[in-house]
C-alpha cells in the first residue's frame, strides 16, 4: 500500500495481474467419503482447478466510474468480491485506497430473532462501524427504511419488502470512497425503487470511485466513463463505455448465432 500512497495517491483501485482460482475439490458439501474417493482416483491426474479470473489488471483514479460487463459466469461478481476484500486473489495483488462499500449486503446479516433496531447495530458492527457512530446514523436509517413501529419488532415479523428496505437503508448509510455495485435494485415497490436509485446515484456522485456490474447496458453508457468486458475470466476489451458495449453486443450476437446453428445441427441430427 505504501507505494500507492507515495506518488500515486490518486489511484482509488489498483489491480495488478489478479487471478482467482477455485479448487473444485473443495466445493460445497464435501464429505470425508468423497475425499477418500478422490484420493483413490488421484493418480489419473485430472486438473481440478478452475480459474474464475486470470490476468486482470486495471487502475481506477479518483472520479472514475467503471462498468464491468460480460456474459453470465464470466467472473464479474468474482471481481467485485475481490475488490471488496471478500476473496483474496490466488495470484497478483490489489490495493484499494479508502473505505469500500459494496451494497451487496442487503440484509444478509440479519438475525431473525432480533428487532430491527438491534439489527442496525449488529449490521454496523459487521461493517466495522462503532456503536456510537451507528447510533448517530440510526435515525436516518429508520426514516429511510420507512418501517415505522416495526423497527422495535423482531425481523422475522417483517415482510420481504420491509426487510429489503431496512437492508438497503443500512447498506447505504455509509458514505464510501469506493462504491461497488452489483445490480441490487430490483426489490421493493416502485416508490422505493425510485427512492433507492436516487440514493445510489447520490452515493456514487459522492464516492471517489465506482465499480458497477450490470447487464443493463444503458446504465453503463449513461453512468460510467470507462468499461471493461470480461469473458471467461479474462479482460477482452477495455475503454470507452459505448465502444466496449458495442463489442460486447457484437460478440454476444455472434455467440448466440453460433448456438442457434449448433441447436439446428443437433435437431437435424436427431431427426435424421
Amino acid at each position: 500500500m505504501a507505494n500507492v500512497l507515495r506518488g500515486r495517491a490518486a489511484y482509488a483501485i489498483d489491480v495488478r495481474g489478479v487471478g482467482v482460482k477455485y479448487d473444485l475439490r473443495l466445493t460445497r458439501k464435501n464429505t470425508l467419503r468423497t475425499s477418500f474417493t478422490r484420493l483413490a482416483h488421484r493418480r489419473r491426474g485430472v486438473d481440478r482447478t478452475f480459474w474464475a479470473l486470470r490476468d486482470v489488471s486495471f487502475r481506477l483514479v479518483h472520479g472514475e466510474s467503471l462498468g464491468v460487463i460480460g456474459p453470465n459466469g464470466a467472473g464479474k461478481s468474482t471481481l467485485l468480491q475481490v475488490l471488496a476484500g471478500i476473496i483474496t486473489p490466488s495470484e497478483g495483488a490489489i490495493d484499494v485506497v479508502g473505505n469500500v462499500s459494496s451494497l451487496l449486503t442487503l440484509g444478509a446479516g440479519f438475525d431473525q430473532e432480533l428487532t430491527g433496531r438491534d439489527n442496525i447495530f449488529l449490521a454496523g458492527a459487521f461493517l466495522g462501524i462503532q456503536g456510537d457512530e451507528m447510533a448517530r446514523r440510526s435515525a436516518s436509517i429508520v426514516e429511510f427504511a420507512d418501517i415505522g413501529q416495526f423497527i422495535d419488532a423482531p425481523i422475522k415479523t417483517y415482510s420481504s419488502g420491509m426487510r429489503a428496505r431496512l437492508g438497503f437503508a443500512i447498506a447505504t448509510s455509509v458514505d464510501p470512497d469506493v462504491l461497488l455495485l452489483d445490480e441490487v435494485l430490483s426489490t421493493g415497490d416502485q416508490v422505493f425503487r425510485a427512492k433507492s436509485k436516487a440514493r445510489v446515484l447520490e452515493i456514487a456522485a459522492a464516492a471517489k470511485a465506482v465499480v458497477l456490474v450490470t447487464h443493463d447496458m444503458n446504465w453503463v453508457t449513461e453512468f460510467c466513463n470507462r468499461a471493461i468486458l470480461i469473458e471467461q475470466g479474462h479482460v477482452v476489451a477495455e475503454g470507452d463505455p459505448a465502444e466496449v458495449v458495442a463489442i460486447h453486443q457484437e460478440r454476444s450476437e455472434r455467440s448466440r448465432a453460433e448456438k442457434a446453428a449448433e441447436v439446428a445441427r443437433i435437431l437435424a441430427g436427431a431427426s435424421a
Partner: protein
C-alpha cells in the same frame, strides 16, 4: 479502535502471511471487533432465552434432569454405592454440558453465516469466538442448580475450595476455544464434523471419569497399565477430577483441592493448542468465501 471507517484501505494479494503474522492478525481481529463479539453474544443469549416456553429455566432444568437419569441408572439400577452420588455426578455434568454446547454451537458458527461471508469482508474468527463466549452462560446458569444442591441437600460438603471453580473454568475455556476454532474451520470443508462430533463427544464423556470417579480408573491400573496412561492424557480427566475435588470433595466428605499440577500442564497445553488452532483457522479463512 483500528476499524474506523476512514482507515479502511486494504491490500490483498496471493502472498500468504506466516504463522506469527497470522496469530497477530487474529489477536487484532478480536480486539478491534470486540463490540461485534459483544453484540453476537447478546443476540445469542437473547435468542436462546426467548424461543422456548420456559426460557432460561431450561438451562437450569437441563443439567438437573440429566443428573436424575444418571442417578437412576447408576445408584438405583447398577447399585453403585458412591455416597452422595447426585452431587458426585453433577460436578461432571455441569462442565460437560458447557463443553458440549460450546462445541455444537461452534461447529455451525461459520457455515450458518454463509450468505454474510460471501457478501462482506470481516474477520471470520469473531463467529466461533462469539458462540464460545456465549456458551459460558450454560456454565453460569448451571451454577444455580449446583448452589441449590449444595445448600439444600449437601451443605456438609460445602468447602472453601469452591473459590477455585473460576480457575478450573478458565482452563476449560482456553481448551474449549481452541477446540471451537478447529471444528468451526474444518466443518466448512467437511460437513461430517457435525455427525462425527455427536458420537465422538458421547464416547469422550463415557471414557472420562464422569459417571465413575478417577479411583475407578486407578482400580483397573494394575491390569491395564498402558491404558491408564492414555486415560490420564484426556483433558477431561484433569478437569472432572478438579471440579469434583472442589465441589464434592473426597468420598469420605473431606475437602480436597483441585489437581493443580494437572491444571497447570493442561493450561500450558491449551495455550499451545489455542495458538495452533488460531493459525489453522486464519490459514484456511481466505477459502471460506469460495467454499461456502
Amino acid at each position: 479502535m483500528t476499524t474506523s471507517e476512514t482507515h479502511a484501505s486494504f491490500s490483498s494479494s496471493a502472498a500468504r502471511p506466516g504463522p506469527i503474522a497470522l496469530l497477530r492478525q487474529a489477536v487484532d481481529d478480536i480486539r478491534s471487533r470486540r463490540q461485534l463479539i459483544g453484540y453476537l453474544v447478546r443476540a445469542d443469549a437473547k435468542k436462546k432465552g426467548t424461543d422456548t416456553l420456559l426460557g432460561n429455566i431450561w438451562w437450569v432444568l437441563d443439567p438437573l434432569l440429566q443428573m436424575l437419569v444418571y442417578v437412576i441408572l447408576v445408584s438405583v439400577i447398577l447399585q453403585n454405592s458412591q455416597p452422595d452420588y447426585p452431587l458426585f455426578i453433577f460436578a461432571a455434568i455441569l462442565p460437560w454440558k458447557w463443553f458440549m454446547s460450546s462445541v455444537s454451537d461452534a461447529i455451525g458458527s461459520i457455515t450458518t453465516q454463509d450468505r454474510l461471508i460471501k457478501q462482506l469482508k470481516f474477520p471470520k474468527i469473531v463467529l466461533p469466538t462469539a458462540t464460545t463466549v456465549a456458551a459460558i452462560l450454560h456454565f453460569v446458569f448451571g451454577l444455580i442448580p449446583l448452589g441449590c444442591l449444595l445448600l439444600l441437600l449437601y451443605h456438609d460438603r460445602i468447602s472453601g475450595n469452591l473459590v477455585f471453580l473460576p480457575a478450573i473454568a478458565a482452563v476449560q475455556f482456553l481448551f474449549t476455544l481452541a477446540f471451537a476454532y478447529v471444528v468451526a474451520a474444518v466443518n466448512v470443508f467437511y460437513r461430517d464434523v457435525e455427525n462425527v462430533s455427536r458420537h465422538a463427544l458421547r464416547m469422550w464423556f463415557y471414557l472420562s471419569p464422569a459417571l465413575y470417579g478417577a479411583s475407578a480408573i486407578d482400580r483397573i491400573a494394575s491390569s491395564h497399565p498402558t491404558l491408564i496412561e492414555l486415560f490420564k492424557l484426556n483433558p477431561f480427566y484433569v478437569l472432572f477430577t478438579s471440579y469434583r475435588n472442589v465441589i464434592y470433595g473426597s468420598t469420605t466428605g473431606a475437602p480436597t483441592g483441585p489437581d493443580w499440577i494437572g491444571l497447570l500442564v493442561l493450561s500450558g497445553v491449551s495455550v499451545v493448542f489455542l495458538a495452533l488452532a488460531t493459525i489453522l483457522f486464519k490459514r484456511v479463512e481466505p477459502a471460506f468465501a469460495k467454499v461456502l
